[in-house]
């Protein structure tokens, strides 16, 4: 059996860990630059707040209820997430971190799963002050279903186990909408609905060949998993991303080419760092910059660069990206830019082009030094083209203190 453990309203709960006065209050956490709401807790949901609404639309409701608004404090969330993941790892024979607030655990051969589930919830709550939910299932897809059920049904007490009991599995799946199944996107769900597939059970029982022909292998696997077959294993596709995207909005609009280049290059540095961390090489880089979607006149520029050969050299790519941006530049009021690395491939067994020069050993060594120096999200060594700290950096005006990662921000305790 596997389990999926996820934290309840993670960002909001993190904000309340060191602030007892915020507990049981409606909390909203804003996106980068405080643009829109990215998470909210149960209390805020009950008051009618909605996710992904821009701040100015939510403002009247916030004032009315005295809701707490926070900028994203990734330093705090990251550090608390690590604590939770470390605790979870001690419970199972294998674990795989799935996202900042979710982790898969492997309980193959374990007994008394429900008790273990309650113990996990109790331990994480007492060690960190964060609430978790545990969903057990014989495969990843069923775990996901179970974890949603554990969250939604009060009687479950934070633990749901879809075990080998076929009747129980079918009862749960029959009430579970197909659009919420793991791996089924909203477009796929709409198409499935047209075929009369409404619940997860409908998908589980649909003809596998027909599913495969229409939706491809992954939805077929999902359908099989809902039937308690095991198709997705642990540590699969962890490093095999198809693209790496770094996209952020600026603290204030940019008009000129030079600052636009420098902000975009700093995003590129981040993207290349992720690329190397996943042991991959890149061939194509697409760059884009755009104006605000909320202003009437939406404008964007973009360009695609193809490298002569696969590479992970930031220096080389930065030079080309700079040129590429200059080529397509038109003066607008830009609020965001994006770097997307595609055409990725593993740097293991990489066969280089016969006619093109391979990335030099020096360049590979230099990148390694760069990554080591900058490890832990520090910006110690960077390109001259990039920006150190500028007026266009992310705005996080309502950010709470970095309670766990900065000496000056540690909580103060009244003695």
């Amino acid at each position: 059996m596997f389990a999926l453990v996820d934290c309840v309203a993670f960002y909001c709960s993190c904000e309340a860990v060191f602030r007892p006065d915020l507990r049981n209050k409606p909390i909203l956490v804003m996106s980068n630059n405080d643009g829109c709401c990215v998470t909210l807790n149960e209390q805020a949901k009950d008051l009618g707040f909605q996710k992904f609404k821009p701040y100015f639309e939510l403002k009247p409701l916030i004032d009315q209820h005295g809701a707490i608004v926070c900028s994203s404090n990734y330093e705090l969330y990251g550090s608390l997430s690590k604590k939770v993941m470390d605790i979870l790892a001690t419970f199972a024979s294998d674990h795989e971190v799935y996202s900042i607030d979710e982790s898969w655990l492997d309980f193959t051969g374990h007994k008394h799963l429900r008790e273990t589930g309650h113990k996990i919830n109790a331990t994480v709550l007492s060690y960190t002050g964060l609430m978790t939910r545990v969903g057990f299932g014989s495969n990843k897809t069923l775990c996901k279903v179970a974890s949603v059920v554990a969250k939604r049904i009060k009687k479950a007490n934070g633990v749901c186990c879809i075990d080998d009991d076929d009747v129980q599995r079918r009862t749960i799946l029959a009430r579970f909408p197909v659009r919420e199944v793991w791996g089924v996107g909203s477009k796929t769900a709409a198409k499935l609905n047209l075929l009369g597939i409404q619940s997860a059970l409908d998908l589980a029982e649909y003809d596998k060949n027909a599913i495969r022909a229409q939706f491809g292998i992954n939805i077929e696997r999902t359908s099989r998993e809902l039937n308690a077959q095991k198709c997705f294993s642990f540590h699969e596709d962890v490093n095999e991303q198809e693209q790496i995207i770094v996209s952020r909005s600026f603290g204030k609009p940019i008009y000129d080419l030079h600052p636009l280049q420098s902000m975009t290059i700093s995003y590129l540095e981040k993207a290349m760092e992720r690329l190397r961390a996943s042991n991959q090489l890149v061939r194509n880089i697409s760059i884009s910059a755009s104006t605000s979607k909320f202003s009437g006149d939406f404008q964007s520029i973009h360009n695609v660069i193809t490298l002569p050969t696969h590479s992970d050299d930031t220096l080389l790519v930065a030079k080309l990206v700079s040129q590429g941006l200059a080529q397509c530049y038109q003066r607008h009021k830009f609020v965001r830019s994006m770097i997307c690395l595609t055409g990725l491939r593993s740097n293991k067994n990489y066969q280089s082009d016969l006619l093109e020069a391979k990335q030099s050993a020096n360049s590979i060594a230099l990148m390694k030094v760069l990554d080591t120096l900058n490890s832990g999200n520090k910006k110690i060594v960077f390109l001259g083209r990039s920006s150190a700290k500028t007026e266009w950096d992310m705005k996080r005006l309502l950010k709470s203190p970095e309670y766990t990662t900065s000496w000056n921000d540690l909580p103060k305790i009244q003695c």
């Binding site: 007892p20 006065d21 470390d86 390694k368 030094v369 060594v381 000056n408 003695c415």
Partner: protein, 221 residues
């Protein structure tokens, strides 16, 4: 250019590109000197690397003397073995140190003692905090002390605990009287006891506290 030896990148604590200087070994003395610094920070296996000097551009060590560094060390000219150690403050001496007989202690070097290992028993359940106020002076907790709070410990009679009282913004630190369910101050001044029956949530046990007799690194006064 081929040479083998150490490359050390020096930078200031604020560490950005402009303050980075590449110091390349320019004569035997300087290399040995670098080696000495590394000696105290790295484990013994790095000491046995053979050093050959090759002349490269000269840098004045004097100009670096006020800088403190994080450094990176690796061998150049072979397949790179990189090893990084960040030392927050590594003072540079200006006088070259002449090396003679290799240190007989090299083989006996072990990991340095870590305060974290001593003070933090359950890393994933521990948080740090600053003490503020003087109601706990009789148990040796003064204003500005560092508190190491362990959330995994079950509070026992007489433990020093952190609690949230009536959903106030900040936590309170008091001595826990388990038998009478009270939180008590430890001071020559009078502080009222707090009843734990309602509105009080014990958040963790203060396992250790640390006095800063001199200002601590990194902490703004």
């Amino acid at each position: 250019m081929y040479f083998s030896g150490y490359v050390i990148i020096f930078s200031t604590p604020s560490a950005n590109l402009h303050s980075c200087t590449y110091l390349l070994p320019d004569d035997q003395d300087r290399i040995i000197y670098c080696k000495r610094i590394l000696f105290s920070y790295l484990n013994s296996s790095y000491l046995s690397l053979h050093l050959r000097s090759a002349s490269t551009q000269k840098h004045s060590l004097m100009s670096l003397s006020t800088l403190y560094c994080s450094y990176i060390q690796y061998r150049v000219g072979e397949k790179m073995k990189s090893c990084i150690q960040f030392s927050p403050k590594l003072p540079l001496l200006t006088a070259p140190i002449h090396a003679g007989f290799p240190s007989p202690a090299a083989d006996y070097l072990h990991d340095t003692l870590s305060l974290t290992n001593l003070l933090v028993t359950h890393p994933s359940a521990t948080f740090l905090a600053w003490a503020e106020g003087n109601s706990m002076e009789l148990v040796g907790i003064f204003d500005g002390d560092l508190l190491v709070v362990d959330r995994s410990l079950k509070p026992r009679q007489g433990d020093i605990v952190i609690a949230s009282v009536d959903c106030q913004q900040e936590f309170t630190c008091k001595v826990f009287d388990l038998k009478n369910q009270l939180l008590c101050a430890a001071s020559i001044n009078d502080y009222p006891d707090i009843s734990c029956i309602e509105g009080v949530l014990i958040e963790g046990v203060v396992a250790h506290s640390v006095r800063m007799h001199r200002p601590a690194n990194y902490v703004k006064p």
